[in-house]
């Protein structure tokens, strides 16, 4: 009996060793050597499987950053763990937007090293506020692969904001820009919409966005972003949400701060605040499938009703959710 038990124990050890060896061998693989290696979006899949990032190899390890959001203080040390759970697949181990999934995305992930951010409340070219980054995390970026992280806790998102700020030296040498002033929205009037329509022509918004706001203006096919990737102007007719928010206030900010890293400039030095609101009101009427007070008012006029009717296109649903 004793010999039997001894034999069984030896067998256990042998089996355990047999099963453990392959795992240990896998664990000994070199960390992914493709860190930071940018591949164009048209390249085939990288042959080498990525390993989980080795924290010790990270350049941002010694940099400490905080984020401040009301009573919340985010810490980069905590955000680091979250980043390497949730974000690195797209944004990469080094935050340079070259994650293992980046070659397959037609809107490349944000390059945190460059610290150029689309959604800001600050003037073009400046760093965003912590709140801007925090809001982007919670909202996600529509029509991109960036989801909403609202299911994380407030503290977790604050920590992630702090960690994102460790990737670029800009955060150590520059302060965030001052948020632009957004005046109270004036009352919606037909004159405001019509003036916005005139501004749409005068500022040549149509060159990119098209006369109907479908993102098909004469310049649309030539546009590229800061990664030299083709980029399509926003299609107002198809979208219900903007990349940087859903409200009129968000649209106002997009217009006056620009969308850095894209051809969409800031119009902060070109138009007056009240004119910007007029443009906001008009742009809402281009969202011909999206109920809004602006659209309702616009359609109450024969001119507006005729334009909207002509802009609406009926077809067979594709299941995409885009109804034009």
């Amino acid at each position: 009996m004793r010999a039997y038990k001894l034999g069984l124990n030896w067998m256990f050890l042998a089996v355990l060793a047999l099963l453990a060896i392959p795992s240990l061998a896998l664990a000994q693989q070199e960390p992914n050597s493709q860190q930071g290696s940018a591949q164009p979006a048209t390249q085939p899949a990288p042959a080498q499987q990525a390993a989980t990032p080795a924290p010790a190899a990270m350049p941002a390890r010694d940099v400490h950053q905080e984020s401040h959001l009301g009573k919340l203080t985010g810490h980069s040390e905590s955000g680091r763990k979250l980043y390497f759970r949730f974000c690195w697949g797209c944004h990469g181990f080094r935050g340079d937007g070259n994650g293992e999934n980046a070659p397959y995305l037609n809107i490349l992930p944000r390059n945190f090293v460059a610290a150029t951010f689309k959604c800001r409340s600050t003037p073009t070219g400046t760093l965003p506020t912590d709140e801007d980054l925090y809001n982007s995390l919670g909202r996600g970026l529509n029509n991109s692969n960036m989801p909403s992280w609202i299911s994380l806790t407030d503290q977790q998102r604050a920590d992630m904001v702090a960690f994102i700020k460790t990737f670029s030296p800009r955060w150590q040498t520059e302060k965030s820009g001052d948020p632009i002033n957004v005046p109270a929205e004036p009352a919606l009037t037909l004159q405001s919409i019509k003036h916005g329509q005139e501004l749409f022509q005068k500022l040549e918004c149509w060159k990119c966005h098209g006369q109907e706001g479908r993102g098909d203006g004469p310049s649309a096919s030539t546009l590229t972003d800061s990664n030299d990737q083709p980029i399509r102007p926003y299609n107002f007719a198809a979208g219900s949400r903007f990349k940087c928010g859903v409200s009129n206030r968000d649209l106002y900010k997009i217009f006056l701060t620009g969308v850095d890293g894209t051809p969409m400039p800031s119009f902060g030095d070109v138009v007056k605040p009240e004119e910007a609101w007029d443009l906001v009101h008009y742009l809402r009427t281009l969202q011909v499938r999206q109920k809004s007070p602006e659209l309702t008012l616009w359609m109450s006029t024969p001119e507006g009703a005729a334009i909207v009717s002509a802009q609406r296109i009926s077809g067979t649903p594709t299941g995409s959710g885009i109804n034009q």
Binding site: A51, R85, G99, N101, S144, S148, S151, S320
Partner: protein
């Protein structure tokens, strides 16, 4: 090692045999892998497993939100039209493994031996140990969106012999009336269990399922009545959740057949309700508490199919209930899952009495309580240590003469899963686990306590 014991067969030993057989059957079912992790999603969205799973296959709140949104991230890029035409949302999971199963008191009668008094084979009860290389069942998971706000899940599943069945097959309509509070799912699906048995982190024969989700008193004939909250059910579910998924509810109307197709016992419906609420606890992270209840009916007798030994349709439905509450508690790298379940069956079900007959003298509804505490230590996304203790205590036997602790269960499970790599293309885990179970008074011959243990070493992969 064998043990010679005198023959003693009575009510308790017979029912114990039935219960033990049922337990083994449950273990066999549970031994098939869970239907939870779907790298097809990771490939579609390019996210690593760790984005949606605390440790694959257990979901974190982001993964739960994604699931509750109908497998959509909600960025207007979820519909198939946005995918490469070659993209095929399918994943396969199986776990080659070595395992050792040992049971302390089982019928190991050798037909060649005879009892000198009766001349019949001498019944013998003793320890039975088996071990060797093996396979789990295989899940073929295909899921995703058919269109914006219309999603599906289809899981053809095979047991370890290759016999197929449909583990899940459902279509889901999300964000009805443009609100996440209204979603409808129809088909065969996992009940809305936040403590999910389909995403369980344990795989062994004894520890690979939640006792509380499957327990039935030893006096019940599980060939007539089998039920498990952990079993996928057929029906329709209305569910809803807040944008961040902190608040969730679901109500399901289910056929009274424990998920079996072709309408066996097709004479009634069950109901399952659940609600949970998550809350932020500062740096501790997200905590969640919730409750659930299942009210069902099951047949007490069946028609017999002429010329066939199989049971026909079930009649004489009587009720049963399961209700409980749970909590998911996080403290830095440590988290605890706690769960309490109260179970109750009709006295007819508890004593295997057809509804047209009188109950045995003193018969009453069996009731029991289940407690579960599961602890995880997530060292990092690559390594998780697992421990679980479950106990089942009968609070009332169906018949007054039975020992109060007959059928009580204690199960201790511990192990770890190590993920050598984390990617957005496939999942792979080295899984080590040991589990030991003790059930009171259920040995098939002597009615003594049975202790069973499982050692499981395997490679769990999905791609």
């Amino acid at each position: 090692m064998t043990l010679s014991v005198p023959v003693r067969r009575g009510f308790s030993s017979i029912t114990s045999s039935i219960a033990f057989a049922a337990l083994l059957a449950a273990l066999m079912v549970a031994d098939s892998p869970s239907a939870g992790a779907i790298p097809a999603f990771a490939r579609k969205y390019g996210m690593p497993c760790s984005a949606c799973h605390e440790a694959w296959p257990k979901l974190n709140n982001f993964g739960q939100t994604f699931k509750d949104n109908g497998y959509q991230l909600g960025n207007d890029r979820d519909a198939p039209i946005f995918q490469q035409p070659a993209y095929w949302p399918i994943a396969l999971r199986i776990t080659p493994h070595w395992h050792r199963e040992s049971t302390s008191a089982t019928d190991i009668t050798n037909p060649a031996t005879t009892d000198p008094v009766t001349g019949l084979p001498a019944t013998t009860e003793g320890q039975l140990t088996t071990h060797g290389f093996d396979l789990t069942g295989m899940d073929m998971l295909t899921a995703g969106t058919l269109a914006k706000n219309i999603s599906f899940l289809l899981v053809p599943s095979a047991d370890e012999t290759g016999a197929f069945h449909f583990e899940s097959a459902s279509v889901r309509f999300d964000n009805l009336l443009h609100t996440p509070w209204l979603n409808v799912k129809v088909g065969k699906f996992e009940l809305d269990n936040i403590v999910s048995e389909k995403r369980i982190l344990t795989l062994s024969g004894q520890g690979g399922f939640y006792q509380g989700y499957h327990f039935q008193p030893v006096t019940e004939d599980t060939s007539l009545f089998t039920f498990g909250i952990g079993d996928n059910q057929l029906g329709a579910e209305l569910s809803g959740h807040s944008r961040n998924d902190y608040t969730r509810y679901s109500v399901a109307l289910l056929s009274s057949n424990d998920g079996n197709v072709d309408l066996p016992n097709g004479h009634g419906y069950d109901t399952f309700l659940t609600f949970s609420q998550a809350f932020q606890a500062g740096s501790l992270g997200l905590q969640r508490v919730g409750a659930f209840a299942y009210v069902g009916r099951a047949p007490t007798y069946h028609t017999l199919v002429a010329g066939d030994s199989a049971l026909g349709d079930g009649f004489g439905q009587k009720s049963f209930t399961r209700a409980g509450f749970f909590g998911l508690w996080y403290y830095k790298k440590l988290d605890f899952t706690t769960m309490y379940i109260h179970g109750s069956d009709s006295a007819f079900l508890g004593t295997n009495t057809p509804s047209y007959m009188d109950l045995p003298l003193g018969a009453r509804k069996p009731t029991w309580n289940v407690g579960t505490i599961e602890t995880h230590y997530t060292w990092n996304p690559q390594l998780i240590l697992i421990n679980r203790y479950e106990l089942v205590r009968m609070s009332q036997q169906a018949l007054p003469g039975l020992p109060g602790n007959l059928g009580d269960v204690d199960v201790l499970t511990f192990g770890y899963r190590y993920y050598p790599f984390i990617s957005s293309r496939a999942g792979f885990a080295f899984h080590n686990e040991y589990s030991i179970l003790r059930q009171r008074g259920v040995s098939p011959i002597n009615g003594v306590d049975v202790t069973s243990s499982s050692l499981f070493l395997g490679f769990d992969f999905i791609f």
